[in-house]
Amino acid sequence: MLGSRLFRVNQPLYRSLSWADVLVLIGIAALLYAALRLAVDAPMALSAPTIDLSLRSLPLYTGLSLMRMVAAYFLSLVFSIVYGRAAAYNRQAEQVLLPVLDVLQSVPILSFLPAVLLGLSAILPQRLAVELSSIVLIFTSQVWNLTFAWYQSLTTIPKELHEVSACFGFNSWLRFTRLELPFAAIGLIWNSMMSWAGGWFFLMAAEMFTVGQRNFRLPGLGAYLQEAANQGNLWALGWGIFALLLLIVVLDQLIWRPFLVWSERFKLQMVPQDNPPTSWFYDLLRSAQLVTWLNVHVVRPFGEAVDSFLLRKSLVHGRVAAPQQSRVSVGRILLVLLVLGLVYGLLRAAQMLSAVPPAQWGDIALGIGLTLLRVMGALAIALSWTIPLGVVIGTNPQLARWLQPLVQVAASVPATALFPAALLVLLRLPGGLHLAAVVLMLMGTQWYLLFNVIAGASTIPQDLKYTTALLQMSRWRRWRTLILPSVFPFVITGAITASGGAWNASIVAEHVEFAGEAHSVFGIGALIAKATAIGDYPLLLAATLAMVLTVVLINRLVWRRLYHVAEQRYRME
């Protein structure tokens, strides 16, 4: 059951396309326009630090990247908690915030990249702006699923627990620490792991980027990998990938696994689980005298002091009633300003879009069609091998115990880092980048599917397996009547995430630069990447919006229906 949590898609699937979605799309168009507008005015010349490919600088670069990731992660956490609470506890806010979140997670992050980077550098000192925008970009690749997980936890807290909290007069601090946080803990930890994987995926793009003549780069592991690929320096590329893998494994072993084991206590089930996760590091920490001493004499008293301070603090705040009247009017004014801003932004965005010649709209349509074919191809290939393998692993607990952690680590290895190495081989094969693009999409998305199939297969009840054996069903019949229906909901869940990832990856997969040469195939991803590189902002805006629209429509019209059917008919519960 490990996997089902990790890659559960946290979408409010009961909603259908609504007016709110349209508003959100308009809002995003306006925002994109605003950022691009700033980008146009950005200073032209930028000095970029050169990336040193010697092994000596690798530890420093790795450290810098890690720090960016940590900063972006905490930013994501804070954002999620605030946003999720607002959406969960305020009916009116919910109606706007949820569609916003839903659409934002379908926006290809890489489209925002030049906008955020150039927009920030127009208003902040150069170095700070570049550093900050890098963190913001990593943040955008980490935050959405965390926010969804937190929001969903908040909305599924049992009613009696809320009532108990109200009955005993919990203030907001106590409610947060004793009810909400523990209830959401497991989901938050699994989703944090997923967020980190997402962050690694876009690290290279977030640390090194060329827009028109402007070349931005930050010292870091991502830039190192990119530079090594650009120069065709295989030796450096190998070491960079090794450093990244090492970091991922270390984080998994020293941070995430111990957290997972620790979070077992937050399980809501009242029955003990048969197969809890284990962590050697957690056991080590618990048995170490020094750690115990520190815990008892430093950590716990400190925690209690903070706790009781905040308890009193929020108690006082709780008593002071906010003046309702003035709040409403301020809110109204802000709302009016926001609407005006959006309308203005929309008009200007429309103006920018009108600058796109009809021929380019044709290209965009064709590009979407071609990319759609590649996405489907990648999904089909992924399904064809993950289902058989996943079922084998999932129905065999012994095997699952060994392979699960491996698959978990493999899934968090960013495909982008492996792209250059894969390209080396793929570009020489017949089909060139046409084949390579599909394989590159596949590399980023297949894990979601494998994970979910494993999780699905492990839920097949033993009784049903015995029954099919007793009925002496043939292998094919067994698959049709038992296995495929059981894993179907999980396959759909995995496929939703995988197809979203594939669309997003098309930007890096359809247009690649390797050893100083640009390779490109026709597709929406390539259009976006090229528009970014040559600074054609109207085309970038048009292509991005077209892609967002396509992804949202496919999600709503295809995946959501399938998901609904799967949940209704095939979920074993």
Partner: protein, 439 residues
């Protein structure tokens, strides 16, 4: 004191909720006063709004109309002098037993040392010493509810509200825990001034309470207020005790009315549409068979509940179904089989289905449904359509339950079939034939 020992009083409390343009009254004009030293039981069938009333009393929910007074003072928000023990225990699974009790004191900013001491003392009193550091999942249901009681008592509530606290426990634990609570209460070992317990278990109410307030549904209202003057400890074998239980059963089951009143009217027509009790036909058949074995096919309802070992709520629903279908009649706490019921009990599986189908065709709800289906294209309709139509008569949840019951009864009677994939409900082919012939 000017409120004459009245701890809590609710005046003209109504709870209305809306679904679409339709208005449903969950609670209608309830007045109730709870005096100090009183153990009151709120008794009634499911859906009579007794749990909602408890939430209104504690301030977790504010009523649509009416007011709650505590010691004569009108209440707003959660009442700090009251607390609830929940049916589902509502313990925090991630906190230990001790922490679960302490958290209640933390909310009142009791210093750490004091709150630990107090929590330990309470756990000791409910017999949980040694389990302080256990997590709720390690405990049995009965022990979990003890933690629930300890937590509630930690804040020394003047008014202790119990929301079916024993109904999720097995028989033995429930029995034990009831005794322990009574011991604390009658022995004045807790500072609680009054207890208000919601239950649907008649014996439990008579065993524990000084006063039983009986509620009924559609809309939820108080129909009877009865004092229990038996001394503690009470024995279930005591004649007076049994008489009292019998009386409460009689109040709750009422008397079988004329067929017209029993059946009610069809949805959309004037008058009240009778809600079908959501029971399984197998259970109903079991009840009828049991009655068929009784002398003169008649028995005391209280005795029946003991023989069948079902909880009173379930039994009342089965009896209601028996009355509705004309298989049994109820008068003065006794239930008797009708000749039709007797035939049913003795019939073969197929014959039972036929009898059942004949009876269903008489129910206005089914008549209405069959007419609609016959008029429909291919004699089928989406269940959602039926449910939406039922929502004109019932609240959304109840409409859903009614639609489910209709499907389940209709399938048993082989009047209807239902396809879960398409969500379509349709007439069985035979029924369509019957229609052609009659045309």
């Amino acid at each position: 004191m000017h409120h004459n020992g009245v701890l809590l009083e609710i005046r003209h409390v109504s709870q209305v909720f809306y679904s679409g343009s339709k208005r449903f009254e969950a609670i209608h004009d309830v007045n109730l006063a709870v005096r100090e030293g009183e153990f009151t039981a709120l008794l009634g069938p499911s859906g009579c709004g007794k749990s909602t009333l408890l939430r209104i009393i504690t301030g977790l929910q504010s009523p649509t109309e009416g007011q709650v007074f505590y010691r004569g003072v009108p209440q707003q928000g959660v009442n700090p002098h009251a607390t609830i023990v929940f049916q589902t225990f509502a313990l925090f699974p991630w906190l230990t037993v001790l922490e679960n009790v302490e958290v209640a004191l933390e909310a009142r900013v009791v210093p750490k040392k004091l709150r630990t001491a107090r929590a330990l003392d309470l756990l000791d009193r409910v017999g949980l010493d040694g389990f302080e550091n256990a997590y709720p999942r390690e405990l049995s249901g009965g022990m979990r509810q003890k933690v629930g009681f300890a937590r509630a008592m930690a804040v020394e509530p003047e008014l202790l509200c119990l929301d079916e606290p024993f109904s999720a426990l097995d028989v033995l634990s429930a029995e034990g825990l009831r005794g322990e609570l009574l011991e604390l209460w009658t022995g004045n070992k807790i500072p609680t001034r009054a207890i208000l317990m919601v239950t649907h278990n008649i014996e439990e109410a008579v065993l524990m309470a000084d006063r039983i307030v009986v509620m009924d549904r559609n809309p939820g209202r108080v129909v009877f207020d009865l004092d229990v003057d038996l001394p503690h400890p009470r024995s279930q074998r005591d004649r007076q005790f049994m008489e009292l239980v019998d009386r409460v059963y009689a109040i709750l089951t009422g008397q079988t009315e004329s067929e017209e009143v029993e059946l009610g009217s069809a949805p959309g027509e004037p008058g009240r549409t009778r809600a079908l009790p959501s029971i399984s036909i197998t259970d109903l058949a079991g009840l009828l068979e049991k009655l068929n074995e009784a002398p003169q096919n008649s028995t005391d309802i209280y005795r029946l509940s003991q023989d069948l070992k079902v909880d009173s709520n379930h039994l009342l629903q089965l009896i209601e179904a028996g009355e509705l279908l004309g298989f049994a009649t109820v008068a003065q706490g006794d239930i008797s089989l009708t000749p039709l019921g007797e035939t049913f009990a003795e019939a073969s599986i197929l014959a039972r289905k036929e009898i059942f189908a004949t009876r269903l065709r008489r129910l206005p709800l089914f008549k209405w449904l069959m007419t609609m289906l016959r008029a429909a294209d291919k004699q089928r309709l989406e269940l959602d359509v039926i449910q939406t139509a039922l929502e004109l008569e019932f609240p959304v949840e109840e409409a859903r339950r009614q639609a489910e019951t209709v499907v389940s009864w209709g399938r048993y009677a082989e009047l209807l079939s239902y396809d879960d994939d398409s969500g379509m409900i349709s007439l069985e082919p035979e029924q369509v034939e019957t229609m052609r012939v009659s045309l």
